[in-house]
């Protein structure tokens, strides 16, 4: 079989990319490894999805369903329970081999859109030591147990990490009758959105302990207790601050990393700051014909932006032409900026850019320049690490299409 575009991953990014590519006239294959479309949204039964896009607070499955319904009205071919095992570059396009319950299948496609989402950091990635007992789960695994399998991972819970999933799980487990002893965060500021701090912790009287982390776990069969230590500004445990908190479950919400196994296999150049691919404004990677979007590209705060980047990638993958790439150089206090390149051969009148900062900042000015011309500027009274910022920049007015920078500095 031959397709113009193969989208790998049927979560919010992949759904949006497949629909958009189809609507732009491409023949599309959507490959999803699970039995149902929707990705991680399937287990996100809380609300708050779609505020930007639909002006409504939907649950994860509801948000996904809007796209799934739309997908049904397209000609997109969907292959479920399908796992890509190999991608091979051909003279024109790529061969993709995947396994499914039907067997091993190889298809040819012109372009590939990687919408493979992200994965969670684990206990080992953050150096928790101690016993090897049951009861220690990543937030995503705990969420799967509760929301999909209807089972409780514990009844006296400690949550490490104040990222959004950690906060959501604190509320979810409380609603199911568990006692959440506290949410611990090694950083001095919360990792999740402010609205979640209020709606998930404050409303339920769940304490949030900043600059503190779990340093050891105890338990012969199931978890019995954890050791908490305060940490210094470099997040190293401070001796003498250890205390023991009894619990039967530790939920880890200690960060997400873009899933880029396939990107690596394809030799796609990655950005060490985002851990996702380096892309231009059309989400095309530095490897011709390979696009990346959603959380595989960089970890987003809102699903609405995940869908947006999926649409950008899907639209671009169904067209595409010869590129002329120029770097966009981040300067100042930016953690990262996406896209990292600008294709000056493609439309540049509405370039969507996302950025994050690494620490809380007040009274900042963001400036985007081309040569020595300023093409965009915006003042922020407050910038928070958990909140991704989005801007749309018109580069059309610039006289020189080179030396692009994006700079964040004190106002």
């Amino acid at each position: 079989m031959k397709y113009d575009v193969a989208v790998i991953g049927g979560g919010p990014a992949g759904l949006a990319a497949a629909i958009k590519a189809n609507n732009e006239g491409a023949s599309v294959l959507l490959i999803e490894r699970e039995a149902r479309l929707g990705g991680i949204l399937k287990q996100c039964i809380h609300d708050g999805f779609g505020v930007v896009r639909f002006g409504q607070k939907l649950s994860g499955p509801e948000y996904a369903d809007r796209f799934i319904q739309e997908l049904r009205r397209t000609n997109v071919q969907v292959s479920l329970l399908s796992f890509v095992t190999r991608t091979v570059k051909r003279d024109e396009g790529y061969d993709i081999t995947y396994v499914s319950a039907q067997g091993v299948n190889t298809v040819h496609c012109g372009k590939i859109v990687l919408a493979t989402g992200c994965r969670e950091r684990t206990r080992n990635a953050i150096g928790i030591h101690g016993d090897r007992c049951a009861g220690i789960y990543t937030a995503g695994a705990a969420q799967n147990l509760v929301n999909i399998l209807g089972a409780m991972p514990g009844k006296k819970v400690v949550i490490l990490g104040s990222g959004d999933i950690g906060l959501i799980m604190a509320r979810r487990l409380t609603l199911e009758g568990a006692k959440v002893e506290g949410v611990y965060e090694a950083k001095p500021t919360p990792g999740g959105l402010t609205r979640n701090i209020h709606q998930c912790l404050k409303d339920f009287d769940i304490p949030l302990h900043l600059s503190a982390t779990v340093t050891r776990v105890f338990g012969s069969t199931r978890l019995e207790a954890v050791e908490i230590s305060d940490v210094d500004e470099r997040m190293r445990p401070i001796a003498g601050t250890q205390r023991i908190v009894e619990c039967d479950c530790l939920v880890l919400a200690v960060g997400l990393i873009p899933e880029n196994e396939l990107a690596r296999d394809l030799g796609v150049e990655l950005d060490p700051a985002t851990k996702g691919a380096i892309v231009d404004q059309n989400c095309q990677t530095m490897t011709e014909g390979i696009y990346a979007c959603g959380n595989a590209l960089h970890v987003n705060d809102l699903v609405d932006y995940v869908s947006e980047s999926g649409e950008i990638a899907g639209a671009a993958a169904s067209h595409g032409g010869k590129r002329k790439l120029k770097p966009i150089t981040p300067q100042g206090k930016l953690l990262y900026v996406v896209p990292q390149r600008l294709d000056v051969n493609a439309p540049i009148d509405n370039v969507v850019m996302y950025f994050r900062v690494s620490c809380e900042l007040a009274d900042q000015r963001l400036t985007v320049t081309a040569g020595d011309e300023t093409v965009f500027t915006k003042v922020y009274s407050k910038l928070l690490p958990p909140e991704m910022e989005r801007i749309a920049v018109n580069f059309d007015k610039a006289h020189t299409l080179d030396d692009f920078t994006i700079r964040l500095e004190d106002k």
């Binding site: 396994v99 080992n124 695994a141 509760v146 399998l149 409780m152 991972p153 069969t221």
Partner: protein, 574 residues
């Protein structure tokens, strides 16, 4: 022998008063000391040719944690009558069980955990040693060299991956490289094949990561790599295939003896009688000996920590490499410093860094700590400076079971005639087990014959244990064919290691009846990749529940009590 001098030296060095008593087999020490490392050091000072050390020096103020025992209490085994009862389901016990099934005997293996390979056999780096570090003839050397030689055959029979890709001990000085000639000579004398010194050019070609500082290396081509727990599982499964019984969650809690023989073995699942008992109890081997009234050696637990690296990390080497002695440590050359440790490419293609060696009082303390992590990374990453701490995706500890003499004890007891000890099995235990298991089976058979029990060959013995299917290794055509036969082999559950539902179902329905999340992980690697089970653990738990017809609340991670979940939602009350 007169130990006064040593007693005085101990007093001077450690400030400890040691009382010494000896009999024909052992030197018994007693006293009190406030430092565990000192107690072990003192024990070693009393090692003399031809005698074992039983070290009863107590650690002041130390409250030994009670031994972990299965929660299960039933009488499933009660009244059983066995020709051989093997205590312990590590590599030793499982290999001995399998070798004994060559005879027509009633064999029971008891293991207190819910799976085999739960002790040191499941928590080591899987190196099949060449034996280059052993200086003098001893059982470790005898069985290590013999075991290494037959490893390929054994693994082929048992369907376990084995890769003989050698090891390189890297030298950064020409003097050391010159001195290593002595090691080559010794290795040759000990019958270790192919050991040689290679020069700067050859090592740089074999392992580009060391080219900046290596002036040469000691190359031991016979060193190999195996998954130690998969081999242990394979031995146990083959034993079961050939008629042995493996009873898990079964701890020996006592014994009865009469006329210098063990008559009854008491467990939490009932009391059984045995013609012959084989002690393969690892870190508890001395305790089991004591139960039989035959305590003549001590096990001092020694913990080792290994770090597992992301196989896709960029700085990993091609070969197994370790740093040889440096000029500073030259006097210690050959004293064990060149053994095992280093950056190890495992049989699964992963990389392990380690191990270290820490004497600890608690035999079951397999917890990890940041100190060991730092030591292991600091020491073993020297040979491969491109490795980064962030490349570590997992770490684990195992507890070795050495005696003070630091050699294996493989013999029938001099005092309890139907008790065979397979004790003090530590590195290179994984290497040696295939060889000594054959000898142990011989010792048992000879004993049974000597007391008038007919030991006939088992005509149905089948040495082949089929290798489990691994779909990711198949070419497209074979994979497609398999999926057409059973669509479950096309449904990938563990995305990191690419393990299909079909493989997981087979692992759940294994011959030992182990239906735990970690049991599946040990058998097919589901959950062993970079996400460490974050995605697939709930699915594996669900598959176990469905396959076994139980509720997910009953599914455990490992031993009884390690339930994955504590109940259903809507049922918890604070």
């Amino acid at each position: 022998m007169n130990f006064d001098k040593i007693v005085k030296r101990v007093k001077k060095q450690f400030g400890t008063d040691v009382a010494v008593r000896e009999d024909e087999r052992s030197v018994f020490l007693s006293g009190e000391c406030d430092n565990w490392a000192d107690i072990v050091a003192i024990g070693k000072m009393f090692v003399t040719e031809g005698k074992h050390v039983v070290n009863d020096i107590a650690l002041k103020g130390y409250l030994c944690k009670p031994e972990r025992l299965p929660q299960l209490q039933d009488d499933a085994l009660d009244g059983g009558d066995w020709d051989v009862v093997i205590i312990g389901g590590g590599i030793s016990g499982c290999a001995v069980a399998r070798e004994l099934t060559r005879y027509k005997l009633r064999i029971l293996l008891v293991e207190k955990h819910s799976d085999v390979a739960r002790g040191a056999s499941g928590a080591n780096n899987g190196m099949v040693h060449a034996g280059i570090d052993l200086k003098r003839p001893c059982l470790k050397l005898k069985y290590g060299v013999a075991g290494n030689a037959i490893y390929g055959d054994v693994c082929r029979e048992l369907g376990v991956d084995f890769r003989r890709s050698g090891q390189y001990v890297i030298f950064d000085s020409k003097l050391i490289r010159f001195l290593a000639k002595g090691t080559v000579k010794r290795a040759t004398k000990h019958g270790i094949p192919g050991v040689r010194i290679i020069g700067k050019k050859e090592i740089a070609e074999a392992e580009p990561r060391v080219k900046d500082f290596a002036v040469g290396a000691l190359y031991a081509p016979s060193t190999g790599y195996v998954s130690p727990y998969q081999l242990t599982i394979a031995y146990a499964e083959n034993a079961v295939q050939n008629g042995a019984t493996v009873s898990l969650d079964t701890a020996v809690v006592g014994m009865e003896t009469a006329d210098g023989k063990v008559t009854l073995v008491k467990t939490n699942r009932g009391t059984v009688s045995a013609r012959c008992v084989v002690n393969c109890a690892g870190v508890f081997a001395d305790k089991v000996a004591e139960m039989a009234g035959d305590r003549y050696f001590s096990i001092h637990p020694r913990r080792g920590t290994d770090l597992m690296l992301d196989p896709k990390a960029e700085g990993t080497p091609v070969q197994t490499i370790s740093m040889g002695p440096t000029l500073k440590s030259v006097s210690k050359f050959g004293s064990g410093s060149t053994k095992g440790g280093g950056v190890i490419r495992t049989a699964d293609g992963n990389y392990l860094l380690g191990p270290d060696a820490v004497e600890i009082p608690d035999r079951e303390d397999t917890s990890t700590n940041s100190q060991s992590f730092d030591n292991v990374f600091g020491k073993h990453s020297q040979v491969c400076p491109t490795l980064r701490r962030g490349d570590v995706i997992a770490y684990f500890s195992g507890v070795r079971a050495p005696t003070y003499e630091e050699d294996f004890i493989i013999e029938r007891s001099a005092k309890v005639s139907n008790l065979v000890h397979v004790a003090g099995i530590q590195s290179p235990g994984i290497t040696a087990a295939p060889a000594f298991a054959k000898d142990v089976a011989g010792i048992v058979a000879d004993y049974l014959v000597s007391v008038g029990i007919a030991v006939l060959p088992n005509e149905n013995f089948d040495p082949i244990r089929p290798r489990p299917v691994r779909t990711r290794e198949l070419d497209d055509e074979s994979r497609d064919k398999l999926i057409k036969q059973d669509p479950d082999f096309g449904k990938i559950v563990c995305r990191c290691e690419q393990i299909s539902l079909g493989e997981i179902k087979r692992a759940v329905n294994n011959p030992l009846g182990v239906a735990t999340v970690d049991g599946v992980k040990r058998r097919v690697r589901a959950g062993m990749g970079r996400c460490q089970g974050g995605f697939c653990m709930p699915i594996v738990a669900d598959v176990i529940a469905r396959e076994k017809g139980v509720d997910i609340t009953e599914v455990t991670k490992d031993d009884g009590g390690s339930n994955i979940v504590i109940g259903r939602i809507k049922e918890v009350r604070q």
